[in-house]
Symmetry: C2
Subunit: 191 residues, 2 copies
């Protein structure tokens, strides 16, 4: 069984506010991400904008991380405690509004014996969400500070890759990123 | 290792509002309860007044239970997922402002081999918080609706008891309960 840990605790400093409730193609970013996880067990880890986000997450299990300022590893750890008995977790960024259920399935299905993790790529660039097998849960629990799962997986020979579309590398760090994502959606819808 | 699941998700219908932030002897009820858990790993399960409670819980791991209306078993289950690897959990009611660290220690220390749970009593009346050994975690996970740990333990021969003060039977259901608790505090402080 796969559980999804949705990271939504950040301050969005480069964005200058709560980027997860900004609408993209008529829907809040976080809602789009959750739609891609339809039917998958998940917890959403919140921090900086906890109260505001809760309004959008009324039907979700949400964990407030009091240590969110200490970085992403603290959020991953909380989510992992929740999924200790699962076979694998997906570490999902809350700010990837182009991610789809199809791509999520592709990543899950790319898992095969011998992989301890699956990383989606686009044209060779490593993306997200990353799938981590339970064999690595202990190591994941030991991450410190603002270090995510990708750092843990760097240089491991037992990591598998699956080539996907641009949705796996397009997160929202800045207002420019948001504009770029809206352009891409427009282009696709005009095709 | 013992983890505490603090139940704070209820609507407080008989009280007519969020009883957990009412002050008792100058401190919010939920703050008093958490003070009694000082140094113990805990998660606070919220539901009905999630946003309001979050203001008081800035340094705590808080889990929002989207199914809080379905009853207490749904909150216990979420907390238990978090403490799967612990030896035991304490199921703590968020509305017991007279509970002290001393009484919590007494309950934890009353655990001995052969007990699957420890229930505090006052003059023979069963109270809270109840300590549940991991041997019962699976059964606890299977509770449904508004059924708490005490129902699970009814008629079990392997439950241990520890006699405590009135703090283990005094929760706040109504405004009258609140007035009674304030009277007790006044009496104690005048002694």
């Amino acid at each position: 069984m796969v559980g999804a840990i949705v990271l939504a605790a950040g301050e969005g400093r480069r964005f200058g506010g709560n980027k997860l409730i900004v609408t993209v193609d008529g829907k809040p970013v976080i809602t789009r991400v959750l739609r891609a996880l339809n039917g998958i067990d998940r917890v959403i880890i919140v921090g900086a904008y906890a109260e505001e986000l809760l309004h959008y997450l009324r039907n979700e299990v949400v964990i407030y991380n009091p240590d969110y300022r200490e970085g992403i590893s603290t959020s991953i750890r909380l989510g992992l405690r929740f999924f200790q008995d699962y076979d694998a977790v997906l570490i999902v960024l809350g700010d990837m509004p182009l991610i789809t259920r199809e791509t999520i399935n592709k990543i899950i299905n790319a898992y095969r014996e011998g992989c301890t993790a699956v990383i989606p790529t686009h044209k060779g660039l490593r993306g997200n969400p990353v799938l981590i097998h339970r064999l690595l849960f202990n190591e994941l629990m030991r991450l410190k500070g603002d270090v995510g799962a990708r750092e843990l997986l760097r240089d491991r020979a037992d990591v598998c890759y699956v080539e996907c579309g641009p949705e796996v590398i397009m997160d929202i760090d800045t207002l420019d990123d948001l504009a770029r994502i809206e352009r891409i959606i427009k282009e696709y819808s005009e095709q």
